[in-house]
Amino acid sequence: MVEHLIRRTAYALFIVWASVSCVFFLMYAVGDPASATLGERASAEQLASFRAQHGLDRPVLSQYLTYIGVQPCHVRAGYCGLLQGHLGDSLRLDATIASVFVERIPRTALLGAMATTVEVFVGVGLGLWAGATRRRWVDSSLLTFAYLGISIPTFVAGLIALDQLAFRLGLFPVGGYGETPLEHIKHALLPSLVLGLLGSATYLRLVRSETRDLLADEFSRMLRSLGVSQRRLTLRYLPRLAVLPVITLLGLQLPALVGGAVITETIFGWPGLGRLAVEAVYNLDAPLVLAIVLVASVAVQAGNLLADIALQLLDPRVLRS
């Protein structure tokens, strides 16, 4: 187990490094961050001064080595790269990236956690029901819901929900973030419901098919022969086995969650990491984009690693295999 974890961690670090490096060179190939930051009114002198101030006038490879932290910093003594724990300064926002993240990440995490909770509970619950039921109409209805969830894009459902449920019916706040922690949760309800209900479709289909397979399995037959009722089987014994693929999927869904946040946060005006990413890319704020990529890839790798561990804890057969 420990050896497996070490191998997986090393692999995860490699993936993170590769992602950040690729994006670094892509960002600098796309355009000039100085022009994008200072705008069309910037004079040649201002552009030159800005480039010198941020080290953008140096060769790209040199910038990269400084960014990684294996070459001395250009603005202060010593090293100031990723290896030293420095994310750098945003080119556009008058703030360090770390301070921006301290504010933004908890917001996206709150939205993500609420959406994932809805996703998993609704998806797994309905999936178990659809898999275990003998009523065709229930099964058909749930499958219809699942297909709708998969088919409707987040931005369509989000805009309809905003207009109908928030603006016209007044059931939820119209976007935004609120001022107190309780208000943050209140404002996150609608986006997390939209994200969660649409996302639950995938879990529903997965758990449904898993439940059906399990019901046809010898394991279930034996339990039934021992007198275990269908209800008890469905509610007590099947969930633990049926959610195994859900855990794997949950790990894989993290990138989708970060990606989804870009759209959801833009639609609902949620001031999180997704919206920041859109603006950073739009303004070619390279250090900020790189930091967001770093955080996203670390989150994805951590999610996968946690899913691995959870899978092994829940199902010892995985470790034996």
Partner: protein, 612 residues
């Protein structure tokens, strides 16, 4: 636990009872027996029911009901009038919270660095520049007692500061504090975009190069008097003193900036920053020590990151006090709603928009081709399609500027297809251009639509356009370089309300550089450049206007741009927001508003009107 059902018919006199628990137990027994039987028969799971099942119709009916519900909800209309009105006070009232917004993030509150509309809107509540612009763009004394006096030779400006001004940390404003602030603003390491407006201040170049630690042209005469000495006459210099860059920062904040910290927002403005939750909101509280007390809101809240579709919903819900971003459909709604219409203001913005042609690249190195393009664009058709969101304008200076030509002046560019064809023939292309031209577009949806209009119009005279949408960053970088982009859409807004603010950067040959050109049409006309230089030296207003009118005429005829429009700025306020004014220079000028509180439900007013 039993449920009792009363007899439904009079004939059944005795009630009958059923225990749900027993029913479940009975069903469970039946189920177990059924399963045992199936197991014996070798089936692992009972087959799903097949055949005609009335329950399937339940699904259909339920779906239909859901769809009806959705449709009904969709039909539910939001109120087409404001939700609140004012209390009806005639005299200005103090108190309340004014709430405004923007669609993106505030970048910085450092007045020496901020150059974008959003940051300037955020910091103008905290800071004040040395001079101010009035609503119509006229210069007014800000922190000065009066407008600066000019010496006989036109090289010295003397500015007397008000003596009753204190910074928000309690430090009094004096000439030394202003000088220290200007020194920071003009230092090369600050990276302020302001330096280009002060290039004529004596000794600035040496200071910026680090050869000296003082600027010879900024002199403190006494505790409240400053003198600016210029190396050559510049009539537009006082306008530069009205830019937010000149806002003095409290000495304590400057000391922290010198120590490498970020500048804390301490100015002399009417509000002090209470909190800034980055990306969410800035909250301001009225500055009790403000030098000019007036009835104004106690608090201002500036929401960041409010997309247009949310802003409209929140404004109509009464959660925002001002709305300035409209889709064409929303603009129509607000214009046509009888209740909202009085709350809507539409004003021409001091921005010019058009298609820029690179005068160094063929075929636009030929003036006749450029003129052909300028005459071929059907601006009126385009305006109608864009929801009348702009005014057709075929010259470089917006209408509010001295020196702009009358709209019916023969030199003003306009739609004339026959003349466009004739110009193209003069250029040697009677059958149109033999090759396509790339038209570069920014990322906005508006740019795409505009591109398609230009494509359709120019196709009529035989010019084929290939639309090239690119990212904003690439667009900015490439269009500023020589020999790269043949044609692109662009807009340009004033820095201050003077013709030099538009004509100098866009059309003076000095604005051309190989790498970061502001004159992006790369248009060189030495006669025009001399005219613009002469206008800078001319102190007589009438004479100066004539010079700029001549310059406008030359530019419109030479057509480095096909000028298209000046945009209309549409703003809607809640009925309880009073003393709203359109400001020609600042897009978010809310310093003068007051709130007529408590706000009352709109229906009350309707009822009162009926009663009267």
């Amino acid at each position: 636990m039993c449920l009792t059902f009363a007899p439904t018919k009079p004939g059944r006199s005795l009630p009958w009872t059923v225990s749900p628990l027993r029913l479940i137990q009975r069903a469970a027994r039946f189920e177990r027996a059924h399963r045992q039987r199936l197991l014996v028969e070798g089936q692992s799971r009972p087959p799903l029911r097949t055949g005609r099942c009335p329950r399937r119709y339940v699904v259909i009916i339920a779906s239909a009901l859901v769809m009806c519900q959705v449709a009904l909800t969709g039909c539910r209309r939001a109120a087409d009038h404001p939700l609140y009105r004012g209390a009806g006070h005639k005299a200005p009232q103090a108190g309340g919270t004014f709430r405004f917004y923007h669609e993106t993030n505030v970048r910085t509150l450092d007045p020496h660095v901020a150059y974008d509309e959003l940051s300037i809107a955020a910091l103008r509540l905290v800071y004040e520049p040395l001079l101010e612009f009035g609503p119509d763009g006229e210069l007014a004394p800000g922190l000065a007692e009066a407008l600066p006096s000019l010496s006989e030779d036109g090289l010295h400006y003397r500015l007397k500061l008000r003596e009753d001004v204190v910074f928000q940390d309690g430090h009094p404003l004096d000439a030394e504090a202003v000088r220290a602030s200007l020194y920071r603003m003009l230092a090369a390491k600050t990276g302020s975009p302001a330096a280009e407006f002060f290039t004529k201040v004596r000794g600035l170049a040496a200071y910026r190069a680090g050869r000296t630690d003082h600027i010879a042209g900024i002199i403190v005469e006494d505790a409240h008097t400053l003198r600016f000495e210029l190396s050559e006459v510049d009539v537009a210099f006082p306008f530069a003193l009205g830019l937010t860059f000149t806002s003095p920062i409290a000495p304590s904040a400057l000391a922290r900036a010198a120590a490498g910290e970020r500048v804390p927002p301490l100015g002399t403005g009417p509000y002090r920053l209470e909190s800034w939750e980055r990306g969410v909101r800035l909250t301001y509280k009225a500055n009790d020590n403000y030098h000019t007390p007036s009835a104004r809101p106690e608090r201002m809240v500036f929401y960041e990151n409010v997309p247009r579709h949310l802003a409209i919903m929140r404004f109509r819900n009464g959660e925002l006090d001002v709305l300035f971003s409209f889709s064409p459909a929303d603009a129509t709604f607000f214009r046509e709603s009888a209740a909202w219409q009085p709350q809507v203001h539409e004003n021409v913005d001091a921005i010019i928009g058009g298609i820029v042609m690179n005068c160094e690249l063929p075929p636009f190195d030929n003036v006749h081709v450029r003129r052909a393009v300028a005459f071929a664009l059907n601006r009126e058709r385009w305006r109608a399609a864009r929801g009348n969101s702009f005014v057709v304008w075929g010259q470089p200076l917006p209408p509010m500027f001295d020196g702009s030509l009358p709209p019916d002046h023969p030199s003003v560019q306009h739609y004339d297809l026959a003349r466009a064809r004739a110009e193209l023939a003069k250029a040697g292309y009677p059958d149109g251009l033999p090759y396509p031209i790339e038209l570069w577009l920014g990322e906005s949806a508006g740019a795409q639509v505009s591109g398609q209009f230009a494509q359709a119009d120019l196709a009529k005279i035989g010019i084929t356009l290939e639309l090239k949408p690119v990212s904003f960053a690439v667009f900015l970088e490439e269009t500023s370089k020589r020999g790269r982009v043949p044609m692109f859409f662009s807009t340009w807004g004033q820095d201050f309300p003077d013709a030099s603010s538009i004509l100098d950067p866009l059309f003076h040959s000095r604005g051309i550089e190989s790498d970061a050109s502001q004159n992006r049409s790369f248009y060189i006309n030495e006669k025009l450049s001399r005219l613009l230089d002469q206008a800078h030296l001319t102190r007589d207003a009438e004479e100066r206007n004539v010079l700029y009118a001549t310059a406008s005429k030359i530019i419109a005829e030479d057509a480095p741009w096909a000028f298209l429009y000046v945009p209309l700025r549409m703003t809607a306020y809640q009925p309880y927001v009073r003393n709203t004014t359109h400001h020609q220079v600042w897009s978010h000028a809310y310093e003068s508003v007051w709130l007529d509180l408590p706000r009352m439900p709109w229906t009350h007013m309707q009822s009162a009107r009926k009663a009267n």
